[in-house]
Amino acid sequence: MDGTGDAQQMSNSVLGARSLGKTFANGSVVALEGATFDIRPGSFVSLVGPSGCGKSTLLRLIAGLIERTSGQVSVHGTDVSGPRTDVAMMFQKATLLDWRTAIENVLLPTEMARSVTKDDQKHAAELLKLVGLEEFLFAFPSQLSGGMQQRVALARLLQTGADVLLLDEPFGALDEFTRERLNVELMRIVGEVKATTLFVTHNIAEAIFLADQVFVMTPRPGRIAATIDVPFERPRPLSLQTSPEFNTLVAEVRDVLGDDH
């Protein structure tokens, strides 16, 4: 690895990694190996691959939730050494607090940093409106459907103010129709707030449909096997998924994944 050139490039990218690796169980399990990439500001990147390919591990390394065993990872040119305020993560489960109303859940990240002001509350209410929940500001999680709970989690993600958003199969537990609708809204919303987004999924079509760039990942050891650019204009209609160009990309991803998938 050539030090100076890489370091220079990394400091310009919003999110970058060099030979990033993670092993578990004293090195006997290699979860991720040699991940190297630079992500352009404001772009949407999908990580796709089968279970065990290291996509969740990569996300958690960037979020600072686990420590790397080798390589480098940086956000806005500074090394990731733990959770930070310019990076926020959304999980497969909504992970809301049952004893808080929707708006109180959205305000949680703010409470971690300082005491909540009236403006913060107004901002949280606006975010809930952005995700289509203006009627449910004071509903408790158990009063909301699974899709609505994920909308609250999305609003909470945006409330952090982070411009690097990490989404770990955020709609994976929802039914097909709800997931498709939320995906379309997600594209609109992250476009509006101009965030850089990393989106983990094991659905190839979903990965391509949402992203500017797809990282195709393969297991044993987990690594990024290919990076595929997605050229389609935005906004993208759902019908894009039936076009020949789209299916060519699907085939390309499938090719990288091999017979395993």
Partner: protein
């Protein structure tokens, strides 16, 4: 680690029943009481051990109004229950939380919890009296002993079993230890802790009775003992039914408190609090 039950869905007795069901229940109850009365008068039931309902009613009048002697004992028992319950459950919740937050202690405590769980706590009562002597301190110690365990084990498991997903969320938000404790662990454990408190309060009443059975100086327990010795079964029954009413009031009272504290477990609670917070928000934002 087994969590003591008591968290089962809140049951409503009587008040929310439809009027016709209530009427049916009243009729059945009156028929049963009538049969008892008739059986006792006809000599099918030995009136010495099964006093007539009418006599029990008269005893209620006697001990509450005419003689009024039950009040002193009632206050004595309730005072004990209250003191022992508060002390025992504070100790239980405190130790439970302390142990829950000490990974090292937690790892080695399980065998002791199992031993404690398997031993009937009340068996230790005579030892406590031997150590502390007759009087209020040993009685309170007995009650503390019987109502320590449920809050202890429930608090411990509530603290230990914090949702991994939520913990990861808090970590990703860079939460400090105190923030995790105040905004996650305590609220999440609260319903389980309250379930422990409910069991503890019921146990406290039984503990008080045992303490009074042993010491026989004052309280409803010793009163039941004295009336039974004098073969005044009607008054003994009046005391027992007094305890039934107290037990019921305790159950309903705890249920009420539980609904206030863990409001998010019932639709009604969420509706109430949600409306209140919406109003406060609109008040603040015009």
């Amino acid at each position: 680690m087994a969590v003591s039950d008591g968290i089962s869905p809140p049951r409503r007795i009587g008040l929310t029943m439809p009027r016709r069901r209530l009427l049916t229940h009243a009729v059945i109850f009156l028929v049963l009481v009538g049969l008892w009365e008739i059986g006792s008068r006809a000599g099918w039931l030995d009136p010495l051990f099964y006093p007539r309902p009418s006599n029990i009613l008269r005893s209620f009048w006697l001990i509450y109004v005419q003689n009024g002697n039950v009040w002193f004992h009632l206050y004595a028992t309730l005072g004990l229950v209250f003191a022992g319950f508060v002390a025992g459950s504070i100790l239980g919740v405190g130790l439970g939380a302390l142990v829950g937050f000490q990974p090292l202690v937690r790892r080695f405590i399980k065998p002791y919890v199992i031993v404690l769980e398997a031993t009937p706590r009340i068996a230790v009562a005579p030892l406590l009296i031997a150590a502390l002597g007759f009087g209020a301190p040993s009685k309170i110690a007995i009650i503390m002993l019987v109502c320590f365990f449920a809050p202890f084990i429930n608090t411990l498991s509530g603290v230990v079993n914090v949702s991994e997903d939520r913990l990861e969320l808090f970590n990703s938000l860079g939460a400090g230890k105190m923030q995790v404790l105040r905004k996650l662990v305590l609220p999440e454990a609260l319903p389980v802790i309250m379930a422990g408190e409910r069991l503890a309060l019921t146990a406290a009443l039984s503990g008080a009775l045992v303490a009074e059975f042993i010491q026989r100086d004052q309280g409803i327990g010793s009163l039941i003992l004295i009336y039974t010795r004098n073969l005044n079964m009607a008054s003994a029954f009046a005391c027992i039914f007094t305890l039934t009413i107290i037990g019921f009031l305790i159950f309903r009272g705890m249920e009420w408190i539980d609904n206030r504290i863990a409001f998010w477990n019932t639709e009604a609670g969420m509706a109430r609090v949600g409306t209140k917070r919406a109003l406060a928000f609109r008040g603040a934002h015009g």
